[in-house]
Structures are given as C-alpha cells and as structure tokens.
Amino acid sequence: MTYGIIQIVLFLSVVLLLVKPLGWYMARVYENKPCGLDRILGPVERAIYRLCGVNPTNEMGWKRYTVAMLAFNAAGFFVLYALMLLQGFLPLNPQHFPAVAPDLAFNTAVSFITNTNWQAYGGETTMSYLTQMLGLAVQNFVSAASGMAVLVALIRGFVRRNSQTIGNFWVDLTRSLLYILIPLSLIIAILLASQGVVQTFKPYPTATLVEPVTMADGNSVAEQTIAVGPTASQIAIKQLGTNGGGFFNTNSAHPLENPTPLSNFLEMLAILLIPASLCYTFGKMAGDTKQGWAVLASMVIIFIGLLALCCWSEQKGTPQLISAGADLQPSVTQSGGNMEGKEVRFGIFNSALFATTTTGTSCGAVNSMHDSYTPLGGMVPMWLIQLGEVIFGGVGSGLYGMLAFAILAVFIAGLMVGRTPEYLGKKIETFEMKMASLVILLPICLALIGTAVAVATKAGQAGAFNPGPHGFSEILYAYSSASNNNGSAFAGINCNTPFYNFTLAIAMLGGRYLFKILVLAIAGSLAAKKYVPASAGTLSTSGPMFVILLISVVIVVGALSFIPALALGPIVEHLMMIGR
C-alpha cells in the first residue's frame, strides 16, 4: 500500500521533471531553431525533402495542410493493407502465417493509421515479423507524427497573426520523426531490451517442460513453444507514440513485452512523456509558458482523482472472490486485491496506474486485463477514454482535444459576463465555437451510436463474452475505445467478425480524421485573425480559476454524455456486486 503510493508519487514526479526540458526541446524543433541533433541529422532531413520533392520553406494554408495529411495517411493505409494480404509470400515469416483475412486486414490497417491500434487479432498467432516491423511499427511512428503535426499547426494558429498559412505538413512530420520520435525510441528500445524484452528474427524457440502437461483429452504435452520476435524496437514506439498495439496478444502483460517492474516503469513513462511535455511546448510557442502549465495542471488533477478510485477499487477486490475462499488482504508478502487478469510482478498499484495512464492518453497498451477489473475499477479506464482522451491524451491529439475544451471553457466564461471570449489573444467567434463543439461531440456520438447499433443487432450482441451488464460494458468500451482512438479493450469481446471489424473501423476513421479536419479548420481560422491585446476584462487563462473551469467543463461534458450509458454497465454491475 505505502509502496504503491510511493511508486505513484515517484512516477508522476519523474514525468513532471521531464516536462520542461523535453517541452523546451520540442518547441525548438517545431520553431525550426537549432536543437542539437540537427547538427547530425540535418543532412538526413534535407535529403528526405529532396527525395520527396518538398520545398521546406513552402508554407501551406489549412486546406492544403489537411490534404497533405490525408494523402500521407491514405498512402500508409495501402502499404499496410497490402503487407498483411501478401505476408504469406513475403520473407521474415518463420512461423509461416498465411495472409490476414481481408476484413481483419482492413480493420487493422485503419486501426494503425489512426493511431488507435485496436487489435482484433493476437500478434504472435497472426502477424509475420515483416508485417509487424515494416507495417505496424512504421505506422506506430508516422501516425504519432501526424498527430503531433496537427497539434503544431493548431498552436501556430494561435501564435500567427493575419496569416493565411499554418506551416508545412511534410516538415512537421519529418521533424517530429527525426528529432523526437526516433531518438527517444532508440533509447527506450535499448533500455527495454536490457530488461528482457526480446529482439530477434529467429523462429520461436522450443523448450522441454520440466513437468509435462496432461490435456483434457488425456494426451500429454512435453514442449513449450515460446513466441519471440523484433519486439523491443516496436514496443518503444508503441508506448512513446501512444499507439498501444502489442507485439503479443496480451500486450504489456506479456513477460517478453514487459518483463520487469523497471520495464513497466519505463513503458508508463514513455506513454506520458510526450503528451505531458507538449503542454510546455504549447506554452513556450505561445510565448507564455504559464498557459501550458495551466492545461497540464488540469490534466494532472483529473488523472490523480480517477487513479485513486481505480487503485482503491482494485485493492478492495470483490466479495465474490472473498466468498470463494481467496485471501485478498494486502501484506508484505502479497499485493492482495483483485488479481484476476493481473501479473504478480506489477500487483495492484502498477496495474491500476498503467490502466489509468494508458486510457487517459490514447495509448491503449495494457499490462493487465481491464475486462477482469472490478466494476468501478474498470469504469475508470472506460470513462477516461470517454472524456475524449484529453487527460494527457495521445501525442498531439490529446492537447488539440484539450484545447477544444479550453475554447469551450472560455466561451462559457464569456457567456457568464457577456463578452466575446478570447484565448491567447485571439477572439473566439461563431466559427471556432461551432468547430470546437463538433470536435467535442463527434467522438461522443460515434461511441454512443456505435454501441446502440451493436446492442440492437444480432451480430453485435454475439460479440459479448461475459453475461449481464458486463457484456454491455464490453461493447460500450469497444466503441468508446475506437471512436477516441485508444485501442484498449474489455478483451473478452469477440470482435474479429465482419460486423465489428467494419463498424469499429468506421468509428476509428471518423474519430481520427473528421476530428483532425475540424481542428485544422480552427487553426486556419485563428491564424487569419488579428491579435487582441489582453484588457482588464479578459479572463486569465493561466491561473487556478481557469484550471478549475477547464476541469469542470471536461468532467461535466463527460458525465452528461456518458452517465446514462455507464449506468447500464459498470454502475449497475457495482450495485449487483455489493447487493448480494
């Protein structure tokens, strides 16, 4: 218990300590200033522009920027889709996996280009090393970089005055990859490999079991085949890019994907590192770092509140486990609590912390099975996703989502005093408000409509694995996860069916690209505006009052939208649990 709290404090302290240096560095990268690494990688950067026929000084308006982003993502989709369909004929497939089924390949390609990494497959039983490395891992990098590019474009919208342009997509993409994502991934990958995350191209090794296992049919199994692969390199970017698509079926619960408490700490750190630091980058580029700290403070406060609920609920466990005869009492020799679906090396606190981290951001990696969480413990990750992935959020996408909430917050404050709202010296007018409202409503609608369609159809109902309200929770979680590009699941759900593969892909596409287009439209509109100096009547957006306002808006919108649905799932399940 005490150790659990110490670990949480340590974790958050390390994240917050790194926010300023990394945030500062990323601001240098995006403002095209010397950042150190450009001395070595500058020639590579220029070579990329030459090979792609890009003039880096060529600025784009928001529409052109959007088209470039969409074209790049579409190209990525086709490469990945083709790789999955052709993997049977391609090299680096030591386990001889056949082509991926077309509906699953479609779902997976959409899932990875949208930074969702929803997985209707088990990695070690479906994907060749080549597909993982050349397809999935590449999208881990570039989908993250796409999100960062859109964020930077939005920040420029606030910063620029009377401008028709918001930057160059190719430059933002290239610099995100070369100077931020690749160097950080190299460091994390090597640290993870030191802990035991595998990194090899050899076929799966076989071990002779110490004690052969007798199967139900009386046959005996004496060997254990151990899935391996080029894992560490992929896991590093899976975490850093808030992607979350596991190399293995059980993701970061798998001992070869997350072998030790230290690797777990690094993986959690890698999830929060960039999204948290981007808040500082935002403040730095906007010329007032307090603005970034205010947004970050709002995120941290909501995060801690929900984390506490999750830890408490998981540590308490369920009366069902206790009455079955298990000892759930924490002590120096066991973590106790609800250990179904959790690993001993992580125990309760590191599982709950990982779950909160991965769903507050749009990561979706898991180190424990959320489906087996207690009703309230499992509601925390689900609701964090439903809040719109803004509690740190995805790389880039989290902060541009949160800035939409900030626009809504200043608008509400403006209504109270009867003034045109302003944010960072830009007047927030009808167009921005319409777009920001759509940004907030879009994933909510996709999640709720998707769930409604699934529970109303036979094909949808067939997916539920657990009986009762928990089966409903599985479906609600799935559409919330897809619409908000998280990718984690209540994994019992049987979602590798044409119905789920197709409808969840629609939710992912809408949640990613419509969202981004709206954000870029806001960016274009803001960039064209003139600067309004702050006056006595301007609401300060860097103080505690704004932090409270922003938290309230996020919570109220999230609660109003989802409490009716949550009441049918985790809330009624909790009542059933304590009622007997």
Partner: protein
C-alpha cells in the same frame, strides 16, 4: 493535387525504410551484441537442453513442485505461443467457480494446511504466462513440497527466501518468486 500524392508516396516509402528497416536493425544489432541472453528470450539451458525461459511460466501439478498461477491460455495452460488472460468479468459465475475449484485442488494436495489461500495463487494472470507467484503463495506451498520430497521445511523455506526477488531498485513492483527457477533449484538439491 498530383504533386501532393507523389510527395505522400515518396514520404511513406522513405519513412518505411528509416523506421521499418534501419531502426529495428540498429536495435537488433545492439541488443544481440550487448544483451544476447535477454534479446533471445532469457532461455534457461540445462545440460545443453532448453528447459524454458526465466520470464515465462510453466504449469506444475505434482505435489513435489511449487505450482504456478492458473493460466487461461489454450489449448494447454502456459502456452507461450498464444498468450491470453481469462477475461472473465468480476461477477461472471465461471470466475468464482474456477477459484473454488482451484482452492479445492490446493486443499486436496495438502489437507493439513490451515492457511488462507493467497489470491494470486487462485486467479489467472493477464498474460497466462506469469512466471511469478507472491512470496505468500510460495509460503503456502512450502509444507506440501517438503512433505512430497521428504525434506525439511526449513530447507525449502531457505530456498524460497533465497530466490525471492525483492522490489526492483528497492522500490518498483512487488516482491515475487519465480516458480520455474524455484522448481529447477529444488530438483538440484542432492538426495540424502
């Protein structure tokens, strides 16, 4: 428009080469050179034979071995080629039944025990491959293993304590005992 498409295709090709070929090759080269044991799966070789991985659990059911946690992988428990949790919801009757059946098994193997059964010993892990049990779960089994092996309980307990991993760097994670390593060490105790 055509120009943007050309740029998009060129970009995805170049970044596929950089992040999909060069980057993983650098990581593989480094890992194989500096951490070859870890990079290849932390395999345990005993007399030239691979007997498992120190990171991957195995199933044990004989009273003379420490038992690992239940595993939900199929078709066999601890199938390291197809990791899986049970995904049973907290109120799913199957979960309570599994726990009860497991407790019955444990009690049947050691009728004399009056200890409470630690929760991790009766619940399936997330991966289905958890190599560890809590020290409490190891202690629960000491008497049974000692009896089955006709050894002194203190001797077994000493071994458990010796093989218990504490929190990493003194802070991180939970104390734990690696079941496969413990059982291999048991088999290496010379017979009296």
């Amino acid at each position: 428009m055509m120009r943007i498409l050309r740029q998009a295709v060129a970009c995805i090709v170049i970044f596929t080469v950089i992040t999909g070929v060069i980057y993983p090759l650098i990581v593989t080269g480094f890992a194989q050179l500096v951490f070859p044991h870890q990079a290849n799966g932390s395999l345990i070789i005993d007399n030239g034979k691979t007997v498992g991985s120190s990171l991957i659990g195995q199933s044990f059911s004989s009273p003379k071995y420490f038992w690992a946690r239940p595993s939900a992988t199929s078709p066999t428990p601890y199938n390291a080629a197809n990791s899986s949790g049970s995904n049973l919801g907290p109120l799913n009757p199957a979960l309570a039944e599994n726990v009860k059946a497991r407790i019955t098994q444990l009690k049947a193997a050691d009728a004399a025990s009056k200890q409470a059964v630690p929760v991790d010993l009766v619940t399936a892990s997330g991966s289905g491959l958890d190599p560890d049990i809590s020290p409490a779960s190891a202690e629960y089994q000491v008497a049974r293993v000692a009896k089955a092996r006709n050894l002194d309980e203190t001797k077994i307990r000493e071994l458990v304590v010796k093989l218990t991993k504490n929190r990493q760097l003194g802070i991180l994670g939970e104390p734990r005992v690696n079941v496969l390593e413990l059982n291999l060490a048991l088999d290496n105790i010379p017979n009296k």
